[in-house]
Amino acid sequence: MADNQTPKQSGASGANTGWAAVGYLISGIAVWGFVGWLIDRWLGSDGIVTGIGCVLGAAGGIYLVVKKLGA
């Protein structure tokens, strides 16, 4: 991002960071939950893959938050 040139963090851009963090978490769960749900339909299993997908997605989302927004 652009924070290598300006050290300031005003309130509004702090809000943006917050939105981005929430966005990563939700989109992580949404993407991999959806993939899991598709696999579920394909295999005819009972939602177990959806669960695994959601957990994986949440992990990916948290990883992204730490990587892109942390420190």
Binding site: A2, A30, V31, Y63, L64, K67
Partner: protein
């Protein structure tokens, strides 16, 4: 119980109130919203033409206002968020900010009292402009494949990439523009509904059968007045947030490799 009240308005208000009928029968697209949108555009254009028609070294009031509005976006948003390269986007960002601001303030102007931005079509169109702009800038700077890589690939171990790529792609190409539009729309729509509920609620209470409920309508109208001031704050804040996020996305697009 409720139904028709004193002011002959239905209570509670519904989502259908945001889809008004055409103004003059014939043209279906000519509604309150398109009229106010033109009005907002006209106000912005005329104001800036008049303010800069005869610029002076010691500015007049109008020129001072125009200059400080533009200066605020140029220095506070374009330069601060994007950096020196951002100055060429200052005109776009400033028009975006001032147009949305005027549109939003319409939500508390008497007799207008609804912002065009409370209709999803208009924020969506503005967000599409921003989306097109930052995609174009990205493709121009990094090349087609280069930009796709720039937007989605992170410095992470290879085994994490398959997990992260879809998330990043969804975030960068779908959620960013969508939430940009939805945030502005939802804020203005909710503000409009809130004012409507408390105003009409006052009438509903005044019309209530119980005598003790009638004075409470005053509380409801007092809330309307308070919320009107609150709405002014939201109007300015949302115009600023939309501009700031646009600048933020542009900055992300124009950034060198991570």
């Amino acid at each position: 119980m409720s139904g028709q009240v004193l002011a002959e308005v239905p209570f509670p208000p519904s989502v259908n109130d945001i889809y008004p009928p055409a103004l003059f029968g014939g043209a279906e697209w000519l509604t309150k919203f398109s009229l106010f949108l033109w009005l907002a555009a006209a106000i912005v254009i005329v104001f800036f033409l008049v303010a800069y028609r005869n610029p002076k070294v010691v500015p007049t009031k109008g020129q001072w206002l125009a200059e400080s509005l533009y200066g605020f976006v140029r220095e506070g948003v374009a330069k601060d968020v994007i950096g020196h390269e951002g100055l060429r986007f200052a005109p776009y960002l400033a028009s975006l900010f001032i147009f949305i601001l005027v549109g939003n303030v319409f939500s508390i102007v008497p007799f207008i009292q609804v912002s065009p931005m409370a209709h999803i079509a208009f924020p969506l169109m503005l967000a599409l402009c921003t989306y097109g702009l930052y995609l174009y800038q990205g493709f121009k700077k990094h090349g087609f494949v280069g930009y796709l890589k720039h937007a989605t690939v992170l410095p992470a171990p290879w085994f994490m990439q398959p997990l992260l790529l879809p998330i990043e792609a969804l975030q960068a190409f779908i959620l960013q523009p969508l939430t940009l539009a939805l945030r502005l729309f939802a804020n203005m729509f909710a503000g409009h509904m809130l004012l409507l509920v408390f105003t009409l609620g006052g009438f509903a209470l005044l019309n209530a059968e119980s005598f003790f409920l009638k004075p409470i309508s005053l509380v409801s109208w007092a809330m309307t007045i308070m919320l009107t001031f609150f709405e002014l704050l939201i109007a300015a804040l949302q115009a600023y947030v939309f501009t700031l996020l646009t600048a933020n996305y542009l900055a992300g697009t124009l950034a060198e490799e991570h």
